[in-house]
């Protein structure tokens, strides 16, 4: 690891922001020979308010939806200059910038085969603009544009399956990660950067403001999402599921839901919780998240 601090403190992220933590882990794992293209969003706003910048690597922000295309141009320029082999290129964005407005540019980047690591910091809503629903907002979440009412229990659609969508492009590496598992993030970033071609990583990053939990609970909440099976940590290599973090005992989703204000409306409603448990159970089956019991002798 470089001795230089690549993502400096003093930026203006909220207390308990998991995105700032994950962004630091990513760039520390990638190292100083890295150029970053960043979409508009919380990370861009809190890390680069003129005249300050938290970044100690070359960093560019253009627009909300085009970091994958800007990174493609950076990569093409590095190839032209003969510098690509010595340089990592990372494109990074939030969940709205990835799954909604930036999906076309991302798909183009993946399809064209650029040697770029794309990172989606998934805090499951448009937090920068005030907690509006995105394509990665979970089922029954209370957001400012999927508000709960007597008629609606929050967001009516499940999360868009971005890892599978990325994987369907036939790219060499896709992974999910979580701020609750920092070493796993860094291992996956290093692995991704050792592979040539387009890579997609989606990191679950709790947002105390939007998820309405105590700032000190960020890592605990992140871990619960994984431990319940709602946010499985998986890897695809060359299209095949090659890894999943397994647990001997998966926790009931209610433990995760009750830790956050955005799901508070569901707590007296066993039917809704059952529906969310079904999403977790499906993940547990699909990705085989349950560790085999050890043989007794």
């Amino acid at each position: 690891m470089d001795n230089k601090i690549l993502f400096k403190p003093g930026h203006t992220a909220c207390a308990g922001c998991a995105q700032s933590l994950a962004a630091r882990l990513v760039i520390e794992a990638a190292g100083s020979n890295t150029i970053i293209a960043n979409n508009t969003g919380c990370l861009e706003v809190f890390s680069t308010k003129f005249p300050d910048s938290a970044w100690n690597v070359p960093w560019i922000h253009s627009l909300f939806e085009n970091c994958a295309a800007v990174a493609s141009g950076i990569e093409a320029a590095l190839i032209y200059l003969g510098k690509k082999d010595a340089t990592n290129v990372i494109a990074q964005a939030g969940d709205g910038g990835t799954a909604d407005i930036g999906l076309q540019a991302l798909s183009g980047m993946l399809e064209r085969g650029h040697d770029i690591l794309y990172i989606c910091y998934d805090n499951e809503a448009y937090m920068n603009t005030g907690v509006q629903r995105s394509g990665l907002t979970p089922f029954y979440t209370n957001t400012t544009t999927s508000p709960i009412s007597a008629r609606f229990p929050g967001n009516l659609r499940p999360k868009k399956p971005m890892p599978e969508i990325a994987n369907a492009h036939g790219i060499p590496y896709v992974a999910t990660a979580s701020a609750g598992f920092p070493q796993d993030i860094q291992r996956k970033v290093k692995k991704a950067l050792s592979i040539k071609g387009p890579k997609y990583m989606q990191i679950h990053v709790p947002c105390p403001l939007g998820w309405r939990h105590e700032s000190g609970q960020t890592l605990a909440v992140a871990k619960l999402a994984v431990e319940t099976g709602l946010y499985p940590l998986i890897e695809y290599e060359n299209g095949k599921l090659s890894g999943a973090r397994k647990f001997a005992q998966l926790k009931p989703v209610e433990e995760y839901l009750k830790a956050q204000g955005r799901f508070k409306h569901l707590l007296g409603d066993p039917e809704s919780i059952k529906q969310i448990q079904a999403i977790a159970d499906n993940n547990i089956l699909k990705y085989n998240l349950k560790a085999e019991a050890q043989k007794s002798d």
């Binding site: 020979n33 680069t48 005249p51 070359p58 253009s62 085009n66 950076i74 200059l81």
Partner: protein, 395 residues
């Protein structure tokens, strides 16, 4: 040596001579031939650039933005809806002071969908912070690309340039073109040396958030650069003449029989060729008519327009675009040139013609000269078909 070339081929040849490192484009009629030619030059090794085929114009502009920010000269081309789809990236490029060059093969805007020529696309981007140069013919289209790179990359300018050439008329038309030699281009256009770039040896951040304490100054700085361009464009135009033996007026405007003229048409782009033909014919009959060709729409050369037209009694402005609900875009600027001044033409009439590819014929131009009477025409559409209006809406 002159070669008989299609306009798009001439542009591709001249872009090749400028040695861009990254080219990115998305197909749209009538820009396609330009980028097809470049793609084949890259494929057969004539041009050592990275050619990035993208999924949209938004990404084409974003790719060249990223590449230019990494310190490489770039090129892209588009038209019409494609230019509009690039719009937010184009404002972004200018704000980031990245000296890109883009060819706009001018085409009408939907709806109704129409692939033919007018200038509504680039005109609508007039506030984007891009230098806008309009070409009359294929030779000028090619030459303006050389001037564009040279201007944009000047350390005191650092703004992008849009070279506007009328779709089909210039992109698909054929003309004998004096293609520059590589040595001449190298002499006129030095290799691109960026002021700042994305480089791991010297990390810097680009595209930062500027709050109300800082934002205004960035816009003011661009406005000041546009003022300085009113001097820089004539200088570069003169240097261009020194190397290539050709020039285009003073680079901002070109005068054609304006000195003693009683009637002058102001116009931009390929229609100027048609107007020149009418002017020649009428001059032969002793009529004192002329043309003022505007090459640089941004920056707009108000002082030059004032000086040239202040003693001309009657001026007609021909627009190939509209600003629906207001005066036509070129007419607005010409009228503004006389605002608060001592002298002005007695009449500044405004005509709109050629929208959606309707031919502007010699007859259309003669009609404009005829209609340039003592009564000022305001936003008069030339060659309208009244019978269509009746059929559609009359009953």
């Amino acid at each position: 040596m002159k070669e008989f070339l299609e306009g798009s081929r001439a542009i591709a040849e001249v872009v090749k001579l400028c040695k861009p490192g990254v080219i990115s484009a998305y197909p749209i009629t009538p820009q396609t031939h330009i980028v097809e030619e470049l793609a084949s030059m890259v494929a057969n090794g004539e041009l050592s650039a990275q050619f990035v085929n993208v999924e949209s114009e938004h990404s084409a502009a974003s790719v060249v933005l990223g590449a230019q920010a990494t310190g490489v000269r770039t090129f892209t081309a588009t038209s019409s809806q494609g230019l509009f789809y690039m719009m937010e990236v184009l404002f972004n490029i200018a704000g980031m002071r990245l000296p890109l060059v883009l060819t706009c093969a001018n085409r009408a805007i939907s709806a109704p969908i129409n692939i033919w020529n007018d200038q509504q696309d680039s005109i609508s981007l007039r506030d984007s912070g891009w230098i806008q140069l309009y070409a009359e013919n294929i030779q000028e289209s090619a030459d303006l690309h050389l001037i564009a790179y040279r201007l944009s990359e000047d350390k005191s300018i650092m703004l992008p340039t849009m070279v506007c050439m009328d779709g089909f008329i210039l992109t698909h038309g054929m003309e004998a073109v004096d293609m520059p030699k590589q040595e001449e281009v190298d002499k006129f256009l030095p290799p691109y040396k960026p002021l700042y770039k994305l480089d791991t040896a010297e990390p810097l951040s680009m595209g930062l958030l500027a709050d109300p304490d800082y934002y205004m100054e960035t816009r003011f700085a661009i406005q000041e650069t546009f003022k300085s361009l009113l001097k820089a464009i004539p200088q570069v135009n003169a240097e261009f003449k020194g190397v290539f033996g050709r020039d285009y007026g003073d680079g901002l405007v070109e005068e054609y029989y304006t000195k003693d003229a009683q009637k002058v048409i102001v116009a931009m782009g390929s229609v100027c060729g048609t107007i020149k033909e009418v002017v020649d014919a009428q001059r032969a009959k002793g009529k004192k008519v002329g043309l003022l060709k505007v090459i640089s729409y941004r920056p707009f050369p108000y002082a030059r327009v004032y000086d040239i037209l202040k003693d001309v009694p009657r001026v007609a402005v021909l627009d190939k675009a509209v600003s629906l609900g207001a005066y036509a875009p070129l007419a607005v600027e010409v009228k503004a040139a006389f605002s608060g001044k001592q002298k002005a033409p007695r009449v500044v009439s405004s005509f709109v013609a050629g929208l959606g590819g309707r031919d502007i014929t010699l007859e259309s131009i003669k009609e404009i000269f005829l209609k340039l009477t003592q009564k000022e025409a305001s936003l008069e559409f030339i060659d309208l078909k009244p019978e269509l209006l009746t059929e559609e809406y009359g009953q």
